[in-house]
Amino acid sequence: MSTIEKAAAEVERSVPGASVSLEPETELMTINMGPHHPATHGVLRLVVELEGEVVRDLRPVVGYVHTGIEKSCEAHSYWKVIPFVERMDYLSYFFNMEAFCGAVELMLEMEIPDRAKYLRVIHMELNRLHSHLVWLGTSALDVGAISMLWYAFRERDTILDLFEMSTGQRMHTRYFQVGGVIEDIPLGFERKLREFLAEMPTRVDQYEALLNRNEIFLQRTKGVGTVSRERLLELGVTGPLLRATGEPWDLRKVFDYLAYPDFEFGIPVGTVGDCYDRFRVRMAEMRESVKIIEQALDGLPEGPHIADDRKYVLPPRSELSTSMEALIHHFKLVTEGYRVPPGEVYRAIESPRGELGCYLLADGSAKPARVHFRDPSFVNLQALRDMAVGGYVADLITNLAMLDPILGGIDR
């Protein structure tokens, strides 16, 4: 058949009411998406079975950025592990630190000062905003709203400036220590943070004005990737994905860690659990985070920012030149590290993507015997198949964007 004849047959087939019956496209095509694809949010490879444009099966292949962080942690003393775990989920580094430091503190049965708890909450909620902003920018980009990326990254940059001011680094700050935080916030930080907090709710309004009535955005997200609440719970999904189905499950509320019981904040939930609900839940979470930071800043208690326990916490710099004892402690802590009594704990916190758990096994030495992170992206990725199978390949991109996986956390 010549090309023209083929084209004519094609036209004939597509004419409604034509006598030629439509042939079902039974042939499945297997294609690779990624690992280097801009819409996979990292180095994620998806082996997709397509029937025409419809996804019939899907298999995520991960491990491309596996760097053996958990193994490396076993070779370093506890205080040196903190920078390692930060680099797992590189958008929620404060949460990784908190999961690890909290687990060590639990093991040592160490109480941290109130001011440290508040400072940790402030930084974690700023981090949640930062993480959601990156998600918003990249996800909107994936479904075609390109300008969102620049608006979201503008606010993200303000947050990174704040991190730089209080911790000295923009990302991977190593700010949380076992016992508290390494330094108190500097002068002027509070003023800058309040400026940001005053501005942020109007910025969220602006993002919503750009997206909430954007016809293309609505069509690409509404009714896409709906998975029932029961199925998500079976698959172990937590975080905004689960809350989008109407399940008000948030570890900040139910487990009362750090200073969260002191603050009033809501848990935004969705109704049907499609991609649009996931988007709305995260947007509402940004507003709640702003509220939490405001309350934490208003109620920030005076006092030390780190526990006064020389066996585990570095002595203040100023004491090193005057106190022999402080110098000995400093030397011991830096060279050998502290020993943690044998035991095992599992501590879970609510990261921007769900339950972030740290399992820690101590054998009595100065190095952990096992560090395992239950990364929410890793577990949530199992739900992608349920979300995408039966939908179009374009919706697969939307589903992936609204799932918000961070490959650094998945692969560790």
Partner: protein, 174 residues
């Protein structure tokens, strides 16, 4: 968390139904753990999931640890959660190492908890613990042709040769 007496109650109730299923309990840092016989792990997990009054229906995390030089060597941990009562309990399957090239085996709990799919593959990948009846037990994070179980305590850190085309004379230039 069930408290220490509550944990003993759970232990005796499981052992009434499945003799010898729970070997021991441990309670530390406010966290409760049942140490279970790996051969009966599914019975223990099913009881905790389905027994009225327990209903630990959510598997938060599944991971493993190598307790070398202790015996039994491996522990597979199931962090169970009852979301209504906000209670966690950890089940640790104490898995001995058969030694040599024989891999330790345990039943897969994917039937009970579909969320265990990736975590069980991860445990297999890093510890060489085989989960019987797992639907698709392959390495997940390490390369498929990798040899060895890197998270075991006797597996050394480092020493991984990195090959580049310029120091591999026979390698084709791509």
């Amino acid at each position: 968390m069930p408290d220490a007496p509550g944990l003993e109650l759970i232990r005796s109730e499981i052992n009434d139904r499945h003799p010898g299923a729970v070997l021991d309990t441990s309670f530390g840092h406010g966290q409760a753990a049942l140490i279970a016989d790996p051969e009966q792990i599914l019975a223990v997990l099913r009881w905790l999931r389905e027994e009225p009054g327990q209903e630990y229906t959510f598997l938060s995390s599944l991971h493993a640890a190598d307790y070398l030089p202790a015996e039994p060597r491996f522990g597979v941990h199931y962090e169970l959660l009852n979301r209504n009562r906000v209670e966690r309990v950890r089940v640790r399957a104490a898995l001995p190492d058969p030694g040599g090239s024989v891999l330790p085996q345990i039943d897969s709990c994917v039937e009970l908890f579909p969320s265990a799919d990736f975590p069980e593959r991860e445990v297999y990948d890093f510890f060489g613990i085989v989960f019987r009846n797992h639907p698709d037990l392959r390495r997940i994070l390490m390369p498929e042709d990798y040899v060895g179980w890197p998270q075991r305590r006797d597996f050394p850190v480092g020493g991984e040769p990195v090959t580049f085309t310029h120091n591999e004379p026979g390698a084709p230039l791509t």
